[in-house]
């Protein structure tokens, strides 16, 4: 086993070089490079955490914005619905009013027309009566030769008409 056989010869140089090598690794790499690497990792972790937090914040902001937008939209919807309902109601009322007015006008026209009709019928009737009285008088005069006075003829015609 050379490790034992050579021990006395080599231990000094082994220690010397080993301590140099370990010292360089310890101070240059272990205390120099490793902290830098760790710092980089920490920085990256911090950055990722910050980015995530910012993203979360933005997400919350977007959610509130959406909420607000939704509320506005809902409000606008409700308003629009109210406006249309009101407009509909008004239009219906207006239409009712106009229909009523037209009805009234028509009724009035109808009344007038029927009044005129009545009048016409009455005057026609009176004329018929007068003509009937005349005719009666003439018939009586022709048949009997006696003269019937106008009033009596009229009364008789009216009586006959009312009986008919």
């Amino acid at each position: 086993m050379p490790q034992l056989a050579q021990l006395a010869l080599v231990y000094q140089s082994q220690w010397f070089w080993l301590l140099i090598v370990l010292g360089v690794i310890y101070f240059f790499v272990g205390r120099g490079i490793v902290p830098k690497v760790e710092e980089t990792v920490d920085q990256r972790d911090a950055q990722i955490a910050a980015d995530l937090a910012a993203a979360e914040h933005l997400r919350a902001e977007a959610a509130t914005a959406e909420e607000a937008w939704r509320a506005t939209i809902n409000e606008a919807h409700a308003e629009a619905q109210a406006v249309t309902a009101k407009a509909k109601e008004e239009a219906a009322k207006d239409a009712d009013k106009r229909v009523a007015a037209a009805d009234k006008r028509l009724a009035k026209k109808l009344d007038e027309a029927s009044a005129a009709l009545d009048e016409a019928r009455r005057s026609a009737l009176t004329e018929v009566e007068a003509m009937a009285a005349d005719a009666t008088r003439e018939i009586v005069a022709k048949l009997t030769g006696s003269k019937v006075d106008d009033a009596a003829a009229r009364t008789a015609v009216a009586e006959a008409l009312s009986r008919a």
């Binding site: 086993m1 050379p2 490790q3 050579q6 021990l7 006395a8 010869l9 080599v10 231990y11 000094q12 140089s13 082994q14 220690w15 010397f16 070089w17 080993l18 301590l19 090598v21 370990l22 360089v24 690794i25 310890y26 240059f28 790499v29 272990g30 205390r31 490079i33 490793v34 830098k36 690497v37 760790e38 980089t40 990792v41 920085q43 990256r44 950055q47």
Partner: protein, 259 residues
């Protein structure tokens, strides 16, 4: 390796002087072991350096480096707690050095003529020194933070006094064994693994030399075994590095938080 080749599986652990001259008992002797330590160092520094571009979106290399440091940061934080960050540089150093040495030692550099791969962690002078450093950190932190109260580590909480007399020596012995077990574990794993590779590699060569269906069959079998053990060696190398780092962190935790 012509003739009756006598392959010595221990030869790979031999430390030789580089740059001429006999091996001497001097700290400044530049050996093949020192060379491979420097290669390990260069690989580690190059790997870590490549991952310090500090990009927000990391590339593959940076991701690998960040995974390594994050993994060890995790080990220290889970073992020691929030104070563990202070001890991360040493846990990192131990893990990375053992891992790189194990894996570089398992690479088939031997197929390059003239290259003599050397596994630094197969020397207990190396792993032992590292475990002594870990143990020294444990003792130093323990006595610095808790003073003589550190000895209460050997008396588990709620032990009746009579049992204390029995348990304290056992705890003390188990505590004192730690540096040995810590240093021996990676050393033994690499030592045994590389002997196995060498022995079966030897079988491959001897089978080819012998020829015949028997020789080629054994050669093929041994080759498959070498491939399998090499894969295992990579796994063992990573596990040993992890075990060393984890145990170091746990021992430091004992010293920091007692228990």
């Amino acid at each position: 390796m012509a003739g009756p080749a006598k392959i010595d599986p221990m030869h790979q652990f031999q430390i030789t002087s580089l740059g001429g001259g006999e091996l001497q008992a001097s700290p400044f002797m530049f050996t093949n072991s020192a060379l491979w330590m420097l290669i390990v160092l260069a690989v580690i520094v190059a790997f870590m350096w490549g991952g310090t571009k500090r990009q927000l979106v990391p590339g593959r290399w940076q991701t690998a480096v960040e995974m390594l440091t994050g993994f060890l940061e995790n080990v220290t934080r889970q073992s020691i707690g929030p104070e563990g960050r202070k001890y991360l540089p040493w846990v990192f150093t131990a893990f990375v050095f053992i891992l790189a040495a194990n894996w570089i030692g398992a690479m088939p550099f031997g197929i390059v003529p003239g290259a003599h791969p050397f596994t630094v962690t197969s020397q207990f002078t190396v792993t032992g020194t590292m475990s002594i450093i870990s143990f020294a950190i444990v003792l130093g932190v323990g006595f610095w933070k808790h003073g003589l109260h550190f000895f209460s580590l050997f008396v588990p909480k709620g032990t009746p006094f009579i049992l204390t007399l029995l348990i304290a020596p056992i705890e003390f012995v188990s505590f004192m064994v730690r540096p040995f077990s810590l240093g021996l574990r990676p050393f033994i794993a690499m030592f045994a693994g590389h002997i196995l590779l060498e022995v079966f590699g030897n079988f491959v060569v001897q089978g080819l030399n012998a020829g015949g269906p028997m020789g080629y069959g054994i050669s093929l079998l041994a080759f498959l075994f070498v491939a399998f053990v090499s894969a295992l060696e990579l796994l063992v190398g990573a596990i040993q590095a992890f075990v060393f780092a984890l145990l170091t962190a746990l021992y430091i935790n004992d010293a920091v938080n007692l228990h």
